[in-house]
């Protein structure tokens, strides 16, 4: 006996617990007596905490005052943000001369302009743009920040960087509005579309050379005042050190990881001992070694730039950590992939660059970003060896006579800044993971 209904049963509406807000509350927060009690208690704790912070940090807080004593006079139980506000320039730029601050800002802006095309979908040749960011931008920014006389090497690199920046920007604008890139459009503009490839290339090279000469002559008249590194500080210094560390960590780490997995004993042993040596010592020890012990081995009166020493130390340290992350990623790639690559005739670098690394890097993203975030926070250790990075500045506020003892507010402000930066980094890494694993969701 079969009951067969010829008509399709009409769909019932979803149960109330799934659609209404009250239903949701009932299901998630008040499903039993115990849960209800826990919910109420938790809400109360959150309320007390948030209210306390709100009253201290906003309601009772003092925003404008000449010194801490005045803050106390206005409100004894509130935060004294006035001190942090007065110190904002120190916190962001350190002791950088105030009339020259535009150079730091311009440097930051240039980085954004330079890197923005990497995120725009219609722009081509992204690899070239990425490489130029790593190899040319640092020189331009470095000169902008440090200033002084340009040696002949600096003049050439700075001219190259400026041309690259102009080229990048034009390329991006053309790319966004018309698709295509700068080289094709230049050839079309010159009416050489039908000329031979060699002819086209030579024309482009000639334009490049002409542009280089023009820019080189123009930049000769452009110098900015020297700002010694001792005046660098605050958030700016933190970003410079960790920026260089982050940029050099990945290439350095890949080389070390490949070295460690190499079949050549010398390379393997050297890489392994290098990695193990730097990984088994705390960063602060490396920093102390680099800044205080190193000059003792040098001839008397020979003073190396402390900032350079610190940056090199941070780079080596982060490369070693990165090497292990990369090695973990490499080990996740099954042997079959190597064999498949060999079958189609790829050599070592072909296998690594075209088959293994692209897959491995995708797996590594969470760990890589994790170490970048860790590195950004670790660089605050340089405040211990006497560089006034952001932490050094935040701690100095409590010693400045008008603001004596003001230490909670600056540290909270610093925590907030770090949270914002790290959160953006981690969100971006999530986005990257989703984008790169698009194939897996097909």
């Amino acid at each position: 006996m079969a009951i067969v209904n010829g008509e399709k049963t009409a769909a019932r509406s979803a149960p109330l617990t799934e659609t209404s807000f009250i239903g949701w509350l009932h299901k998630n927060l008040f499903s039993s007596w115990i849960n209800a009690i826990l919910t109420v208690v938790s809400i109360y704790i959150i309320y007390v905490a948030v209210k306390g912070i709100w009253v201290w940090g906003v309601e009772e807080a003092v925003w404008v005052a000449e010194n801490r004593r005045e803050c106390f006079k206005i409100s004894k139980d509130g935060a004294c943000w006035a001190g942090v506000i007065q110190w904002l320039e120190n916190i962001f730029y350190g002791r950088y001369p105030r009339p020259e601050l535009w150079r730091v800002n311009l440097g930051g802006l240039l980085l954004v302009v330079w890197m923005a095309p990497l995120w725009l979908p219609r722009v081509k040749n992204k690899i070239f743009i990425g490489l130029s960011t790593v190899f040319l931008y640092p020189f331009l920014a470095g000169y902008l920040f440090a200033g002084g006389d340009k040696g002949i090497f600096m003049q050439v690199v700075v001219s190259g960087a400026i041309i690259c920046l102009i080229g990048n920007t034009l390329h991006t604008i053309i790319g966004v509005f018309s698709g295509g890139g700068l080289p094709e459009n230049l050839t079309r503009l010159l009416g050489k579309t039908d000329a031979s490839d060699q002819n086209q290339r030579n024309t482009l090279l000639a334009i490049l050379a002409a542009a280089f000469v023009v820019v080189f002559l123009l930049q000769m008249g452009w110098t900015v005042e020297v700002v010694p590194w001792t005046k660098w500080g605050g958030m700016f210094l933190t970003l410079v050190i960790s920026g260089i560390g982050i940029t050099s960590a990945l290439p350095g780490g890949i080389i070390l990881a490949l070295g460690r997995r190499s079949r050549l004993p010398v390379i393997r042993v050297l890489s392994t001992s290098f990695i193990e040596l730097f990984r088994s010592v705390p960063l602060i020890t490396i920093l102390f070694m680099a800044t205080t012990m190193f000059p003792l081995f040098m001839p008397e009166g020979f003073v190396l730039n402390k900032l350079v020493q610190v940056t090199i130390a941070v780079c080596l340290f982060s490369a070693c950590y990165m090497a292990e992350t990369v090695r973990a990623g490499l080990q996740a790639i099954p042997m079959g992939q190597y064999e498949a690559a060999h079958t189609i005739g790829l050599g070592y670098w072909g296998t690594m660059g075209l088959v293994v690394m692209p897959q491995a890097l995708k797996h590594m993203i969470p760990n890589i970003v994790g170490s970048f975030i860790g590195l950004l926070k670790d660089t605050t250790l340089v405040s211990i060896i006497g560089l006034f990075d952001i932490l050094g500045m935040l701690r100095s506020i409590s010693q400045d006579v008008p603001w004596r003892g003001l230490h909670k507010e600056p540290l909270l402000f610093g925590a907030l800044l770090f949270f914002i930066i790290c959160f953006i980094m981690s969100k971006y890494s999530r986005h990257l993971e989703v984008k790169l694993s698009a194939g897996a969701n097909r």
């Binding site: 004894k76 320039e89 120190n90 211990i384 006497g386 701690r395 010693q399 006579v401 004596r404």
Partner: protein, 346 residues
């Protein structure tokens, strides 16, 4: 060329090279500083009264003024100065390895440091000493009343050792509560985490001034340690040692003689006091022994002021001062019962 002559010439070249190297090494600190065009003066991480950063990123404080005075003595301008802020763990290394030319920071002059760390202390510019602070309503009026008390103290400092000594000698059984960070120590003290707070008296004064209710606390009269603070230089360059030492004496001497920033031009032009005339370079050749210009002391006073002015500005009641009374303390002039005394300028 015969082998012997070849060897001789190699030896000669080697000898010349080494001689050159020795000459280069033997260059005096003054020459190095003059060649470089600025003085590298080491201070510590910011500490109220002695060295601080202001909101514009400039250094100020009494020890910074000593650095400025030495720069003014050498170059005639206090601006030819690079202040290096170095943490206390590496302060002596940074002087020994040539990174800094001199040290002007709160380093107590002790026999051990003077003899075993390769440095020489010049002339005391501040006499400090360790003391105690208690809440007024505790009723404690003497450090000897602190029997069994808990005392907040920074760890890893001589302050901690002095406290232990004091407790043992007087059988007080004081329980130290140690901290790494002075701000956390102060907060704990304010919240009642310990009965008393111990620190150098200059530090106590500046801590107290930063409390929400400074009048609720009192500094006990006892001073349980001697902390003479003096600029220090590397051992083995007595000319440089003399320059730094006499810069401090010029600051004190100027105060003794009534020369200050405001009247120094007038004094140089019109003073009939022979000591003043010698000091400011109007008469005599006192500068020659130091290897400085004739108006070195004039430049110091013109650029920085005398000792009293520096004290008033950063240690005393000035706008940036931490409010330690000078009269009656060891830092008053010897004519007023203190220990500040300059050898004669003649």
């Amino acid at each position: 060329m015969k082998p012997t002559s070849f060897i001789t010439s190699v030896a000669a070249i080697a000898a010349m090279t080494f001689a050159g190297a020795t000459v280069a090494l033997a260059k005096s600190t003054l020459e190095i500083v003059k060649e470089r065009g600025n003085l590298r003066c080491q201070v510590g991480t910011p500490s109220p009264g002695f060295y601080n950063l202001d909101a514009k990123g400039e250094w100020y404080g009494s020890d910074v003024s000593i650095c400025q005075a030495v720069a003014a003595a050498i170059f005639g301008s206090k601006k030819k100065l690079e202040i290096q802020s170095v943490s206390s763990q590496v302060r002596f290394t940074a002087l020994a390895n040539g990174e800094s030319d001199m040290l002007s920071r709160t380093a107590t002059w002790t026999l051990l440091r003077d003899t075993q760390l390769g440095l020489d202390f010049t002339a005391v510019n501040f006499y400090d000493g360790q003391g105690f602070m208690v809440p007024k309503d505790s009723g404690i009026t003497s450090a000897l009343d602190l029997k069994g008390a808990t005392v907040c103290v920074l760890t890893g400092t001589t302050t901690e050792l002095n406290l232990a000594d004091f407790s043992r000698v007087n059988k007080l059984n004081i329980k130290p509560v140690t901290f790494e960070d002075s701000n956390v120590r102060n907060d704990t003290y304010l919240n009642g985490g310990c009965d008393a707070l111990t620190n150098d008296k200059s530090g106590l004064a500046s801590n107290k001034a930063a409390f929400p209710n400074p009048d609720d606390h009192t500094v006990l009269p006892e001073t349980i340690s001697k902390e003479p603070l003096a600029p220090a230089v590397r051992q083995g360059d007595s000319q440089w040692f003399d320059i730094v030492k006499w810069t401090v004496y010029a600051l004190v001497g100027a105060e003794e003689l009534g020369v200050n920033k405001g009247n120094v031009d007038d004094m140089r032009a019109n003073s009939t006091n022979a000591s003043v005339r010698r000091m400011l370079g109007v008469e005599g050749n006192l500068h020659e022994g130091l290897g400085l210009s004739k108006d070195w002391a004039y430049n110091i006073i013109k650029e920085v002021g005398n000792y009293g002015e520096i004290y008033e500005a950063y240690m005393g009641g000035g706008k940036l001062g931490i409010g330690i009374a000078r009269s009656g303390s060891a830092n008053a002039l010897w004519t007023k019962g203190g220990l500040m005394y300059s050898p004669p300028f003649r």
